[in-house]
């Protein structure tokens, strides 16, 4: 039996969809008994709580405090740890977004807890939790257990399907926000440079159109019409990001975003091990590349050996004509 504390991620006063993967984990981890509680910390957390009351949580705890609005780890982590202790939770879980990866290890250290990061599945066996994690760029899986009484886990969004509401109305309660770490006084949050995009988030998109270095300065010119046609998110290889053809936050790969959409189109991407690690869980993979030897073809369900500057506009026309 495990009692699980799910730490939500808030952005612009809303719970991010990535949180729903951590809820799926919590449902699985409590399948042998126990319950889970949702913790919402941040400015506007109270308003965001209402929609989270229908997921089957024992409680939705709300720490609505403007000081937490920027998600600065040294401000958030103390409240997470204090809530975990006060509620005697066995497992604290976050989704392994950049926020979760920043905060969860610091929470683990506060709780003297073991930390299993970026897990892809959980097995409940006689009350004991065994976690599976991808290692070596997804070329092997490790099965592991945490040896401490309290456990901290982050879950890979692409491996835990987003939880749907299950009905009911969990009680929503205010919780006290704990004082920030003294180290918080040494951090000044200056803002975020975010490209505003109407496209879906990479972690949530059903279709992703991803481009490599071969696109050069034409990255957006070539990919935008295809992404528009498919309602897709746009991703990129490391090489395309490093060369400045695409912004860094679009990078798909072992050390960028890990994605598993229904359809992934790799356009002019050779398929380095690090890139494959971030997308080979996709249901259907299409590769378009003029090099027939490109490693991307080894994971592609459908490969088209053709110059992308010819193939992509033709693909857009073909999709339009058939829609």
């Amino acid at each position: 039996m495990s009692n699980v504390l799910v730490v939500a991620e808030l952005a612009d006063g809303k719970v991010r969809k990535s949180t729903h993967s951590a809820i799926t984990f919590a449902r699985q981890a409590t399948s042998g008994g126990g319950s889970f509680t949702l913790l919402l910390l941040g400015a506007g957390a109270k308003a965001a709580a209402a929609e989270m009351a229908a997921f089957g949580a024992a409680k939705v705890l709300v720490g609505d405090d403007a000081a937490l609005k920027d998600g600065v780890c040294e401000r958030v982590a103390p409240s997470v740890a204090a809530t975990a202790v006060a509620g005697n939770f066995d497992v604290v879980v976050m989704t392994a977004s950049s926020f979760g990866k920043d905060v969860a290890p610091r929470v683990a250290a506060k709780l003297s807890a073991g930390y299993a990061s970026d897990i892809s599945s959980v097995k409940v066996d006689g009350g004991k939790l065994t976690y599976r994690r991808p290692v070596f760029a997804g070329n092997a899986y490790a099965n592991c257990q945490i040896t401490t009484k309290v456990q901290v886990v982050s879950v890979r969004q692409s491996e835990f399907a987003a939880a749907e509401p299950s009905g009911g109305a969990s009680p929503v309660e205010d919780t006290a926000v704990t004082a920030a770490d003294p180290a918080a006084a040494k951090i000044q949050y200056l803002g975020i440079d975010a490209a505003k995009s109407e496209r879906p988030d990479l972690g949530e998109a059903r279709v992703i159109v991803s481009g490599g270095r071969a696109l050069k300065e034409k990255f957006a010119d070539v990919l935008d019409p295809l992404a528009n046609q498919l309602g897709a998110a746009i991703g990129a290889s490391r090489a395309a990001c490093d060369a400045g053809y695409a912004p860094a936050e679009l990078q798909v790969g072992q050390t960028g975003r890990v994605v598993a959409p229904a359809l992934y189109l790799a356009i002019g991407i050779s398929g380095a091990i690090q890139h494959l690690a971030g997308m080979k869980g996709s249901k259907t993979i299409v590769a378009i590349n003029k090099d027939p030897e490109a490693p991307i073809f080894q994971v592609a369900d459908y490969g088209l050996v053709q110059d992308l500057f010819v193939a992509v506009p033709a693909l857009v026309e073909e999709l339009k004509s058939q829609s």
């Binding site: 290890p105 070329n139 257990q145 259907t284 088209l304 053709q306």
Partner: protein, 274 residues
């Protein structure tokens, strides 16, 4: 500025698809040991912060590298001394005897002894992909953390302006030192690191520097100290236990299509995704 850089050696990440599993154990035989790429980026960052990029031989401060592992890890440390680090420390352990949390606890003790202004880490080791030591170390020290740094501008020895690469863009932070910073890929772009010693117009070559033969020879004379894990922490208990490993299921072989029309037809009728 005095900077401590923790390093890890990893089985050749460019051949990670050659790892094998035998009776539940991971086998990396045949894969060369390489420094974790992100740790190499951290060393490069430390060097850029402590030099005038137009005459990089003179160090304005000190760069100390540390690793945990058996004697063979000295090779990794020597390579970093060759690129310009001043001093190295190897904490003698077996590869299996430690987890990230033990390393963070031991590093805390080492930091209290060495008193660096900054601990620079790679954001993750590309074998276990945990991304935990920098954040845990920051907590154990009570220091601020700035993870996934894609740019750093130093304001002297007092503070850094850090651009953190996050899912939605780049978060800008000012962090007072001492602090723990973990670095991301873009930190080794030509203008990602700006130190007070280097003219703002200076652009580095993209990527990390390689040691010249002369520097590798000279590095043999640089100090490399050995410590025991017990010198740093009396608590070597592991918090995570790895039971076994398995290989992922292989993807079934795909097909080549002859043109865009066939591709769309397959996506509609076979995969049913458009």
């Amino acid at each position: 500025m005095k900077i401590l850089v923790p390093l890890k050696r990893v089985a050749d990440p460019d051949n990670a698809n050659k790892v094998k599993v035998n009776a539940g154990k991971l086998v990396t035989t045949g894969l060369e040991w390489k420094p974790n790429p992100f740790d190499e980026y951290a060393v490069e960052t430390a060097l850029r912060l402590t030099e005038n990029g137009t005459s990089p031989k003179a160090r304005q401060g000190e760069v100390v590298v540390v690793t945990f592992g058996p004697k063979e890890c000295d090779t990794t440390l020597r390579a970093m001394l060759g690129t310009g680090a001043d001093r190295a420390i190897r904490v003698d352990t077996g590869d299996e005897a430690i987890d990230g949390d033990v390393v963070a606890r031991a590093l805390k003790a080492l930091v209290e002894k060495e008193k660096p202004d900054l601990v620079l880490c790679g954001k993750q080791a590309v074998d276990g992909d945990s991304s935990q030591v920098p954040q845990q170390l920051a907590e154990y020290l009570g220091w601020p953390q700035a993870t996934f740094a894609g740019s750093i501008k130093s304001e002297g020895d007092k503070a850094l302006l850090v651009g953190r690469e996050v899912d939605g863009g780049t978060i800008k932070l000012r962090v007072e030192l001492p602090a723990v910073v973990s670095v991301d890929l873009r930190i080794v772009a030509p203008k990602s690191v700006q130190s007070v010693h280097t003219p703002a117009t200076h652009a580095y070559p993209d990527g990390v520097r390689f040691a010249a033969l002369m520097a590798i020879m000279a590095a043999k004379k640089k100090p490399l100290a050995e410590m025991k894990l017990a010198d740093l922490t009396s608590d070597a208990a592991l918090k995570i236990q790895y039971l076994d490993y398995e290989l992922p299921p292989a993807r079934k072989a795909g097909v080549k299509v002859k043109d865009v029309a066939e591709l769309v037809s397959k996506l509609k009728t076979e995969a049913k995704v458009v």
